[in-house]
């Protein structure tokens, strides 16, 4: 168990960070994911399978979190309009990407990160997200389109 954690924690934390844009949230989410997956693995032999389950759990936890937040946001936006602030103009390139990623829907962000950070194929991304292949293609396409809009100089 210890070896599995050490082997995958760094990658899991980075994935969690890209999906959430928040270090603390990423740590919490990754810890929950490890606990869930380690707890379900009574006989861990295939380390590739472990990472597959862990990655899927991290993605599921993040999309679930943001979906809930999205529903809540409408109600609270009126009471906390200051939270809808726009991004500063002179952010560094990395900051602009982080900001741009967070404008994507959770499923779009997950699809983009899995495709271009984890380098998964479209089929593997579809499997990880539990989406049809066609939906992954359109989701990635729309996500890229939005990123191009948010990051015009990188387009």
């Amino acid at each position: 168990m210890d070896a599995l954690y050490r082997a995958h924690a760094a990658e899991a934390l980075r994935l969690g960070y890209l999906l959430t844009g928040d270090r603390t949230l990423a740590e919490d989410l990754v810890q929950d994911a490890f606990v869930k997956v380690l707890g379900r693995f009574h006989d861990i032999r295939n380390r590739d399978a472990f990472w597959w389950y862990l990655r899927k759990t991290i993605v599921n936890l993040s999309t679930s979190y943001f979906r809930r937040r999205g529903v809540e946001r409408a109600w609270f936006a009126r009471q906390r309009p200051e939270e809808a602030a726009t991004a500063p103009r002179d952010l560094a390139e990395r900051d602009r990407l982080r900001t741009a990623l967070m404008t994507l829907r959770p499923e779009q962000r997950a699809a983009i990160v899995l495709r271009f950070y984890e380098d998964l194929s479209e089929a593997d991304t579809a499997e990880a997200l539990g989406m049809p292949l066609g939906t992954v293609k359109s989701t990635v396409s729309r996500g890229l389109e939005r990123l191009r809009h948010e990051l015009p100089e990188e387009a």
Partner: protein, 437 residues
């Protein structure tokens, strides 16, 4: 863009600090605690469902108390045990093993309480100290204490019972756990009238007493069996002014008898629990409903429009949404005659809200001459906040309303002010509003 994006993503990922030595102990301790005794316990639970609310309020006195069990809706759910077994069949298996000479620790209340301390509370066996307060043939009260904690941490009281075989070989089961360290003011679990939602909320509030100042957080775990995993939902909250107030989503899976066990723990810096409370909570029983708009009671034309809206919103298909509304008559966020499509393109999360409320039951209202009857999603539009049902509270919680929000609405004499969508009786999409009255 693809290559550039890859490079940027890898660069951005390096912002995440990776402190494996710092995070490993806690994570692994939590994981180990959940793996103990999990063998064979998980297969029965597969169907993800919702939880939450309830109006069953349990109050704890300042002294160790026996937590009364909440009777579930299932007539067969009369088994009192909360841990390690939660039904008579599982206890029978354990008893058979005990009769064969295994698990002798289960034949004494002290042994069973010690097992709880090591398996669920993260204590080392050598640190556990037990004392029997009262023991009869089939009931016992045992206190457990961690030698490392010192006098400032109160003992934990474990109520136990022999629920099957009585006699020297009869296995003991945990019926309740309490501590003066944790005071519960309100515990509410939602059991939807129909399991149409797949997640819900556990509403739980209380405090950690002033006697000990080392508690910084509290964890809530819902499970059904000998270990915390398979988990039916868990949550952790940092204490503020020694108070906790959970109103958050908890994914809960159906249990065969509609009941599960809630364990509240206050972990110290090493993850060992300074205190614990264990009570029973209700869970829904049934299959998860397929996703889609809830079309209960709406005419065919309305249902067809609702389905098309749902499909288009789910697919983030703005062109399809545009075909479904007339900007001259459509109302978006109380702005008559505007075209909402540009706003939705700018903030697609609005469509998630649309999907979420369409999955809730609808209601209708006669708008008056020239308009006829409008069908609204969600049904909460017509709810009387002075007499909210358990289901209504559950759905409000799902939409992000806290108890405080609800009270503000009641105090102000308002009606439902959350997101809503209306289709008129001819099937014309009339509005989608997300910003209140």
């Amino acid at each position: 863009m693809d290559t550039r994006l890859r490079t940027l993503l890898h660069d951005l990922a390096t912002e995440m600090p990776v402190d494996i030595e710092g995070t490993a102990p806690k994570t692994l301790r939590r994981a180990r605690g959940r793996r103990v005794l999990t063998g064979g316990a998980g297969a029965a639970i597969a169907v993800a469902l919702v939880v939450v609310v309830s109006m069953s309020v349990l109050r704890f006195a300042d002294h160790p108390t026996v937590t009364p069990a909440v009777t579930g809706p299932n007539p067969s759910a009369t088994f009192e045990g909360l841990w390690p077994e939660t039904d008579i069949e599982a206890l029978a298996e354990t008893q058979a093993a005990v009769d064969d000479g295994h698990m002798p620790v289960r034949t004494t209340p002290e042994g069973t309480a010690t097992l709880l301390a090591t398996n669920l509370l993260g204590w080392e066996l050598s640190d556990v100290q037990t004392e029997s307060i009262a023991v009869s043939e089939d009931r016992a009260t045992v206190t457990i204490e961690n030698r490392l904690f010192g006098d400032r941490v109160p003992v934990i009281t474990v109520e136990l019972g022999r629920l099957g075989e009585i006699g020297p070989n009869g296995a003991w089961s945990v019926l309740g756990v309490s501590t003066p360290l944790i005071q519960i003011d309100e515990l509410a679990e939602i059991v939807p009238e129909s399991p149409e939602i797949i997640t819900g909320f556990l509403i739980l509030s209380g405090s950690v007493t002033d006697e000990f100042d080392g508690a910084t957080a509290i964890e809530a775990h819902v499970f059904d069996g000998p270990a915390l995993v398979p988990s039916l939902g868990s949550s952790r909250q940092e204490l503020r002014d020694r108070r906790f107030d959970f109103t958050r989503e908890v994914s809960v899976e159906a249990t065969p008898d509609g009941r599960a066990t809630l364990l509240l723990t206050v972990p110290d810096a090493t993850g060992a629990s300074l205190g614990a409370v264990m009570v029973r909570v209700e869970t829904p029983v049934g299959d998860p409903a397929p996703t889609g708009p809830n079309l209960t009671g709406v005419p065919p034309d309305v249902a067809a429009t609702a389905q098309r809206i749902y499909d288009a919103a789910n697919a983030e298909d703005f062109d399809a949404l545009a075909e479904l509304l007339d900007p001259n008559t459509f109302v978006y966020n109380l702005d008559d005659g505007s075209d909402p499509i540009p706003a939705w393109r700018a903030d697609p999360s609005e469509l998630e809200i649309m999907v979420a409320i369409l999955e809730m039951p609808p209601t209708s209202r006669d708008i008056g001459e020239g308009y006829g009857t409008f069908f609204f999603w969600p049904y909460l539009v017509n709810s009387d906040f002075n007499v909210l049902t358990v289901q209504e509270r559950a759905d409000l919680a799902l939409l992000g309303f806290t108890e405080k929000d609800i009270q503000l609405i009641i105090d102000g004499g308002y009606g439902y002010q959350g997101p809503r969508l209306a289709i008129d009786e001819t099937g014309l999409w009339r509005n989608f509003i997300t910003v209140g009255e």
